[in-house]
Every structure is written in structure tokens, then in C-alpha cells.
């Protein structure tokens, strides 16, 4: 089977979960891979949980939603509780340790505690937490290149251009936690 990366990102609505997933997907595509991005929202307009699943593959992608994803990034506690147990054995779990004070307790996976929110606040806004997390995730998996992500950010987020530098820093800071 072709090489395939699967990641589920989960947190509160408004934490930039969807955007982070989309940036990943765009980047995968820019690097010539097959990609899928599948969102899911709770019923509430505001304040509900949100998660999305991104698959990046060198071949045709079958199921775009994954029972046991290779990797999961959780941004809050309910997400850890829901998705922690789902990580495929041997897979990766990234936890926003700024908001989640426990770990998964699983021994069969690699767990990374990333103080994403705290780091983001330091960079200038809680909004960069998603990029901090992405930085860590990309460094571990090498699923796409850092430059691609930044490139895509520039292309797609034309109106948020002034944040490019902060995003770059956030990615870097994230990477540092797992280097």
C-alpha cells in the first residue's frame, strides 16, 4: 500500500482546528500528494467541539475518515478523552499541554506534550496555538515541508498576510518542543 499520513485535529470551535487541517491538506496537495480533509462540527454554532481529519497519501485515498488514525492532535481535554484511545497502536498523539493537564495513559503510542496555547500567547495571540502544534507535528512526521506550509499560508490567507511572520515563529516554536 502507498505511504499514507493520517491525522485528526480536535479541539474547541474557534481554536483554528479546521484551518490547521486545511493548511496541511493544501500543503500536501502542493507537494503533489493526494489529500482529503473531512470536518465535523457539533450542533452548537459557537463553543462546540470541532475536529477534522486530514489524509495525505502518495496513492488514491480510500476512506477519508479513519477509525484509528496514525496521529492525533488534541487541543482540549474533551478531545483527548474522545480521540486519545483511538490513536493507532504505535501512532502519535500530540497534546496541547497548556489546556490539558493529563496524558492519555497509553503505553503503545508516542505522546508529545506541546504547550501550544501558552506558546502562542507568548508569540502574540492564542490564535497561533494551531501553528505551534503543526510545527511539532510536521517535524515529527515530515509529512510536508515547513516552507510549503508558509507558502500556502501566504497564498490562501492573503488578508492575514501580516501574520505570516508570527505563524512562521509559531511553527518554529512548535518544532522546538520535539527536536
Amino acid at each position: 500500500m502507498p505511504k499514507q499520513f493520517e491525522v485528526t485535529l480536535a479541539g474547541f470551535g474557534g481554536q483554528g482546528i479546521m484551518l490547521a487541517g486545511q493548511l496541511l491538506a493544501y500543503s500536501g496537495m502542493a507537494e503533489g500528494k493526494q489529500v482529503t480533509w473531512v470536518p465535523s462540527y457539533g450542533p452548537e454554532m459557537r463553543g462546540g467541539t470541532a475536529y477534522c481529519t486530514v489524509v495525505i497519501s502518495e496513492g488514491r485515498i480510500g476512506a477519508p475518515i479513519i477509525t484509528q488514525p496514525q496521529s492525533v492532535c488534541v487541543f482540549n481535554r474533551p478531545s483527548l478523552e474522545k480521540f486519545g484511545p483511538m490513536v493507532k497502536s504505535g501512532g502519535l498523539l500530540f497534546i496541547n499541554s497548556s489546556l490539558v493537564d493529563i496524558a492519555s495513559g497509553r503505553k503503545d503510542i508516542n505522546e508529545y506534550l506541546i504547550p501550544a496555547t501558552d506558546t502562542a500567547v507568548k508569540i502574540g495571540s492564542v490564535k497561533f496555538a494551531n501553528m505551534v502544534m503543526l510545527g511539532a507535528y510536521i517535524h515529527i512526521t515530515s509529512v510536508v515541508k515547513f516552507e510549503t506550509i508558509l507558502q500556502i499560508f501566504l497564498e490562501k490567507m492573503g488578508d492575514k498576510r501580516q501574520f505570516l511572520e508570527s505563524n512562521r515563529i509559531a511553527l518554529e516554536e512548535g518544532r522546538k518542543f520535539v527536536q
Binding site: Y26, M29, V35, T36, W37, P39, P43, I61, T67
Partner: protein, 356 residues
């Protein structure tokens, strides 16, 4: 044209624009409101018409009136909204009008939920409205295919002067994948729209109608419809086989996104040494009746399994077409729950007696 990463809903909208279907009528409903939201921005750029109707009943009937102009028109909605269009759909079928209707299905019945489902198969394929009509029904299993089938839908609608429905579960509307649109779209040869209304200038007045008080005339219209469906059955069957070979012990049947998940299950089962093939109907009407039967008959196939995001609807057509030749199982989840790869694998193994 370069590849784009797009949501299914938006890709469908752009595909319509691509074939000049720039006349759109809709009423908001989750999980497909993005189509309207996209087109509310996009259509003014291309001189198209978008009306947010007061209801889906009105949508169906605005489509009806708009289609009488001979221009390409379409709508998108989701399950309850489609139920409200049944009268208009029956009328448009009876009046031989080309329209395209997209149902991004959600869990039902009733208000149900807003998550993906495939429980409107019966409604789409057997006809939710009254009378002897059928819809051409297409079911994409990727965003790219949603684009391709949207384009095809408009062509088939014009070719056969008939309403075409595309059905996809909520996931296909919401997910993003990379898509490509035709660089410069060109219609295949299509019949002239001399039936369209545009004023009786230099010709006799024309009427678009479905009433025939004389039963002989009404039957004639029904025979006309039936003949059309016969041609459609002959020419428009579409399906895909995945890893179908003479080692398969079991043949899976699934359509739309569900088929994608079955593919992954098949890949994984393969690594476990269990050979399974997939039959994916793309046209649900015309249903690939002969093709299903042909595949079912193959000696190596021990069992059949239909998987749906429903309590079992297409499985009745598989039952019909497989003529009892092989035992047929069913696995379904419903209400917004998507059967996952693991579940499909489990169902296959159970069907083959490999697990209890």
C-alpha cells in the same frame, strides 16, 4: 486547469458554473448551504441568477418555471428539503424538463440529524413523487467525481429532457479534496431545445404541461417516458469495479463515500489474505442490473455483502439483480454514523464465517 483543493459543496457549485448552469434556486439547509453561499458570490460574476426561495416547495417550482426557458437550471438541498420537492419533481419529469437536483443527504427520517447518511436511496431511485417516472440518479464517491458527475448530470438532463439527481452523503459536501475542472468546457452534441418557451413569434404557441385528461394521451406520455428510460437503461449504466478478480471470495456492493471506505477495507483485508472485490454502482438509475448479475455469477464468489449508510435500501436492488444466486448480506449504520473500515472488515469476515 490547475488542481484546486475544494469542499465538495463548492466544487459542485463551480462545476455547474463551468457548464453554464448559472441559474440556481435554493433554500438553506445543512449540510449543503455552502453551495448557495458560494454561488451568492460567484453567480453575479458570470451574470447568473440566484434566488433564495421561500421554501423547497417554491424551489422545485422555480426550477420548473426556469427550466421552461431552456436554460440550464439546478438546485441543491438535503433530505427534508428534497421531500418537499417531490410534487414538482413528478411534474417536471412528466413535462420532460431537464433540471439537475443535488441531494446532500443527512440522517433521517424527519428532522433526523445533520450528519452524513445514504438513507434517501429509495426516494431518489424508486421515485418519491407520484406516477410512473424515474430520475437518472448519479452517486459520486469523491469530490472530483462530484464535479465530473455534475457536468454529466447537466448533459444527461439535456440529452434526455429529464430531471437528473445526484446524491451524495453529507461528507462529500463537507470534505475537501483536490479537483480539476475542464480547462475550456464544451458540450457534447445535444438535441436542440425547440420545446423551450420564449414567445410565439413566428411559430405556434407552445405549451409545457403534464395534464392529459384523455387517458390515451396520458398513457402516450407515459410510454414516451418509459421509452426514454429504456434508452437510458441501455446507454447510461455506469459503475466501477475495485480489485475484482477471480480470487475474490466475496463481492462487496457500496456506492458513494461508502465505497471509498470499502476500498480501504479491501486493501487491508488483502494484507490479511482475504480477497474481496467491490462493485460500485455510479448510476443508481439506471442500475447496473446485468453487470451486477454477471459479477455475482462468477464461480469464485461465495457471498455478497452490501454496505450502506442506511438500514438497507440499495440492498433490495442487489437482491433483485443477484436473483438469489449467492447469499447476500447487509451491513449498515445510520443516522449520521459512517461505517468505518474496521466495521466493514468485521462484516466481511463475519459473512465469510471467519469470525462469529
Amino acid at each position: 486547469m490547475a488542481k484546486k483543493l475544494m469542499k465538495g459543496n463548492e466544487a459542485i457549485a463551480e462545476a455547474a458554473v463551468c457548464v453554464g448552469a448559472i441559474n440556481y434556486f435554493a433554500y438553506p439547509i445543512t449540510p449543503q448551504s455552502e453551495v448557495a453561499e458560494y454561488l451568492a458570490r460567484r453567480l453575479p460574476e458570470v451574470g447568473g441568477v440566484f434566488i433564495q426561495a421561500e421554501s423547497e416547495v417554491a424551489v422545485g417550482n422555480m426550477l420548473f418555471g426556469a427550466a421552461c426557458s431552456g436554460k440550464r437550471v439546478f438546485t441543491t438541498s438535503s433530505s427534508p428539503g428534497i421531500s418537499l420537492m417531490q410534487e414538482a419533481i413528478s411534474y417536471m419529469a412528466g413535462a420532460h424538463l431537464p433540471v439537475v437536483i443535488v441531494n446532500i443527504m443527512r440522517g433521517g427520517p424527519g428532522l433526523g440529524g445533520i450528519l452524513p447518511a445514504q438513507s434517501d436511496y429509495f426516494q431518489a431511485v424508486k421515485g418519491g413523487g407520484h406516477g410512473d417516472y424515474r430520475l437518472i440518479v448519479l452517486a459520486p464517491s469523491s469530490v472530483q467525481e462530484a464535479v465530473d458527475l455534475t457536468i454529466l448530470a447537466f448533459q444527461l438532463a439535456d440529452k434526455y429532457r429529464a430531471p437528473v439527481m445526484m446524491i451524495g452523503d453529507g461528507m462529500i459536501g463537507q470534505m475537501m479534496e483536490s479537483v480539476e475542472f475542464p480547462a475550456k468546457y464544451q458540450d457534447p452534441p445535444l438535441p436542440p431545445k425547440d420545446w423551450a418557451l420564449g414567445g410565439a413569434r413566428g411559430r405556434k404557441p407552445q405549451v409545457i404541461k403534464s395534464l392529459f385528461l384523455d387517458p390515451i394521451a396520458l398513457e402516450k406520455n407515459n410510454i414516451l417516458l418509459a421509452e426514454k428510460y429504456k434508452v437510458i437503461r441501455e446507454n447510461e449504466v455506469r459503475y466501477e469495479l475495485y480489485k475484482v478478480n477471480n480470487k475474490n471470495r466475496l463481492l462487496l456492493f457500496a456506492y458513494g463515500m461508502m465505497a471509498r471506505i470499502c476500498q480501504t477495507a479491501i486493501d487491508e483485508l488483502e494484507t490479511e489474505g482475504i480477497s474481496v472485490g467491490l462493485f460500485r454502482p455510479i448510476s443508481l438509475f439506471p442500475f447496473p442490473e446485468k453487470e451486477v448479475y454477471r459479477e455475482v455469477l462468477k464461480d469464485n464468489i461465495e457471498r455478497l455483502l452490501t454496505v450502506e449508510m442506511s438500514m438497507g435500501q440499495m440492498v433490495e436492488d442487489i437482491e433483485r439483480c443477484s436473483k438469489g444466486k449467492k447469499p447476500l448480506g447487509f451491513y449498515g449504520r445510520t443516522g449520521g454514523i459512517v461505517p468505518m473500515t474496521e466495521e466493514v472488515k468485521g462484516a466481511v469476515k463475519k459473512e465469510l464465517g471467519l469470525v462469529k
